[in-house]
């Protein structure tokens, strides 16, 4: 995969994607920034509705339109801003440089075409292969994802595949363009735990070999611990804390991260009641004046309610968006 690049392969700066509905404008993605280096996995965690999926789709400019629109920021792929590209130029980045794996393998494949046909499509597009070479590459891709009997299974339809195999087929499609960035939007949420583990292992292995950069969206901390080098915690459309995975687990700083980690059930602790964060996240249509978490935060001060907190860089390359760390 060439020489070591200097900067991050994907850098997102102050990305804003707003919803435009009859209820008004919703700030679903409200100033998201992060950087992703080759060979690295960045976890994006947060509750449902925090804007994780919309962030992913916005990176490829596949956010639902006209219901939502990217209203600001930059998505830099090796330094070029994808938001400034024409639709046709943008299309050439999809699958080829940045690939996407979706959450639900049961619905991600087109039911009326064979799995082979859908993999061929990607290979033909990105590698220009035809005929028997096309079949060969497709079978290789399936073997790479450890789908058994690839040659025979190319002719199968999605409904003839199990959930785990479908997600691998989606993976084979995504990796057919030899992308350098893979966006995985909760790829294992719909899978059984054992199938999940096997899938993650395959993904890790491919990442190591191809030096793939992965943005891994999940709300499962067990998966984060297993997969991610760094974690970004998202709350109400903003990233509130970024840190190396082990540091985040050992020593969470943002009150939301602390609460989030406390709400993860621990089998060994044998606690009677599960911890739940009090209250609800604010509606994207009525953003809080200050910090979005202030209303639920046990440490909230007066200014937390009045002014949005800045992003505070801390030791070890981590950052927290919280007034408590401003001094």
């Amino acid at each position: 995969m060439g020489e070591a690049p200097t900067g991050p392969v994907l850098e997102v700066k102050d990305l804003r994607t707003h919803l435009f509905t009859s209820r008004g404008v919703g700030r679903a993605v409200d100033g998201v920034s992060f950087a992703l280096r080759r060979g690295e996995t960045l976890g994006l965690v947060g509750e449902s509705g925090s804007g994780k999926s919309l962030t992913c789709l916005s990176l490829l400019r596949l956010n639902p339109q006209p219901a939502s629109r990217i209203v600001g920021g930059a998505v830099l792929y090796e330094g070029t801003d994808l938001l400034a590209k024409t639709d046709e130029e943008m299309r050439r980045y999809r699958g080829k440089r940045i690939a996407l794996v979706l959450q639900d393998p049961m619905t991600a494949l087109n039911p009326v075409f064979t799995v082979g046909n859908q993999i061929f499509e990607a290979i033909r597009l990105h590698q220009g292969a035809r005929g028997s070479r096309l079949r060969k590459i497709a079978a290789e891709m399936m073997r790479l994802l450890r789908i058994p009997d690839p040659e025979q299974r190319l002719g199968d339809y999605p409904h003839q595949f199990s959930g785990g195999m479908r997600q691998r087929a989606v993976g084979a499609i995504a990796l057919s363009g030899k992308p350098s960035v893979l966006i995985a939007d909760e790829p294992t949420t719909a899978l059984d735990v054992t199938i999940q583990a096997a899938y993650l292992e395959v993904l890790k292995e491919i990442q190591r070999r191809e030096r793939l950069a992965i943005l891994f969206v999940t709300h499962d901390f067990a998966v984060v611990a297993r997969m991610c080098d760094r974690v970004a915690v998202m709350y109400a459309g903003k990233i509130v804390e970024t840190a190396d995975t082990w540091r985040l687990f050992d020593d969470p700083r943002h009150p939301y991260t602390v609460a989030l980690l406390r709400s993860v059930p621990d089998v060994e602790a044998r606690i009677e009641r599960l911890y739940a964060i009090e209250g609800q996240p604010p509606s994207v249509f009525e953003p809080a004046k200050g910090c979005a978490f202030a209303a639920r935060c046990p440490h909230a001060e007066a200014r937390c309610h009045d002014e949005p907190p800045p992003d505070v860089p801390l030791e070890g390359g981590r950052a927290v968006r919280c007034w408590l760390f401003v001094r």
Binding site: R92, R94, L102, A108, L109, F113
Partner: protein, 305 residues
């Protein structure tokens, strides 16, 4: 599979039987053929003799059973008007109707597939309105009126197209467009709503994420899925085309089953009318069966496995 086919066959036979009872009884409510077949100056005695000779004085149920017994042997009687076997008269006309209905259906598909897709992808914009407006007009304006207006515009004023009869491909245009337009509405609406649903699905998102051109995403990944319910609908519409074809064949003087049905109704030509209607029924049954079979071709999930 064999059980399914057998079941469908039995079902079809019951349908045919019921249709035959209805048309047999209904035809006879229009009056006696004696009024039309015999000369106006025929004496009551001559009239009575005719009725007895034809068996019209027997109870209706008895007449029906005789008809059924003969029909099972392939004998549908002779035309009261011309004396020719009903089967010959009817089968002569079958091709004309099937050709017209098929051309009409093709025209309907050629118009409504693009309109339905474009209406969905341009939702709320000009083409969406054009598509729905066109469809609504075709559906709500009665076909006999459309036929007459077309004749006036293209036949009388512009003199572009023949207004009656058969012969060249140009004779197909007016009747087929009239028929096809009428059924386009259903396809446009069904396809539009189907496309709107399909285009919001995850596999469309994935197809786009692959980097496929939007045209491939819409016309391959989208349309192929949205077509599944449309295919079923086509069987239903084929029946509508054939049924509304009666009016169109009369207006355009198209020598098909519809015109024959019309004529034999006027002449109280019971044997011909009965066979024509039964043949309509058979056509609709066969088309529906073919649609059910083709369903498996379009949707791999139905094939099982």
């Amino acid at each position: 599979m064999i059980r399914v086919v057998f079941f469908r066959l039995m079902q079809s036979l019951v349908t045919l039987l019921i249709t035959s009872v209805i048309i047999f009884a209904l035809a006879r409510t229009s009056g006696s053929p004696a009024d039309l077949v015999l000369a106006p100056e025929a004496t009551p005695a001559e009239r009575q003799a005719y009725i007895e000779r034809m068996g019209f004085d027997r109870p209706l149920a008895y007449q029906y059973l005789i008809f059924l017994k003969n029909a099972l042997q392939g004998d549908f009687g002779k035309s009261l008007r011309t004396g020719q076997p009903a089967t010959r008269l009817v089968f002569e006309r079958l091709g004309g109707t099937l050709r017209l209905a098929t051309v009409a259906l093709l025209i309907a598909l050629a118009i409504s597939l693009p309109l339905g897709v474009v209406a969905a992808t341009q939702r709320g914009r000009t083409w969406d309105r054009v598509g729905l407006g066109f469809a609504l007009l075709g559906q709500s304006v009665p076909s006999f009126w459309k036929a007459i207006v077309f004749v006036i515009i293209f036949g009388v004023w512009l003199r572009w197209l023949p207004t009656s009869g058969v012969g060249t491909w140009r004779h197909y245009i007016l009747p087929a467009v009239t028929l096809g337009w009428g059924v386009s509405a259903g396809i446009v609406r069904l396809l539009r709503s189907g496309m709107l649903e399909v285009m919001g699905s995850e596999y469309i998102k994935l197809a786009r994420a692959k980097g496929l051109r939007e045209s491939v995403v819409v016309w391959k990944h989208g349309l192929r899925n949205a077509l599944i319910p449309v295919i079923t609908f086509i069987g239903f519409m084929y029946g509508i085309i054939i049924a509304s074809g009666v009016v169109i064949e009369v207006v355009f003087g198209w020598p098909g089953l519809g015109l024959l049905a019309y004529e034999s109704t006027l002449w109280r030509d019971f044997p011909v009318l009965q066979l024509t209607v039964l043949l309509f029924t058979v056509i609709v049954i066969v088309i529906n069966f073919l649609v059910d079979v083709s369903y498996g071709l379009v949707d791999p999930r139905v094939r099982g496995g």
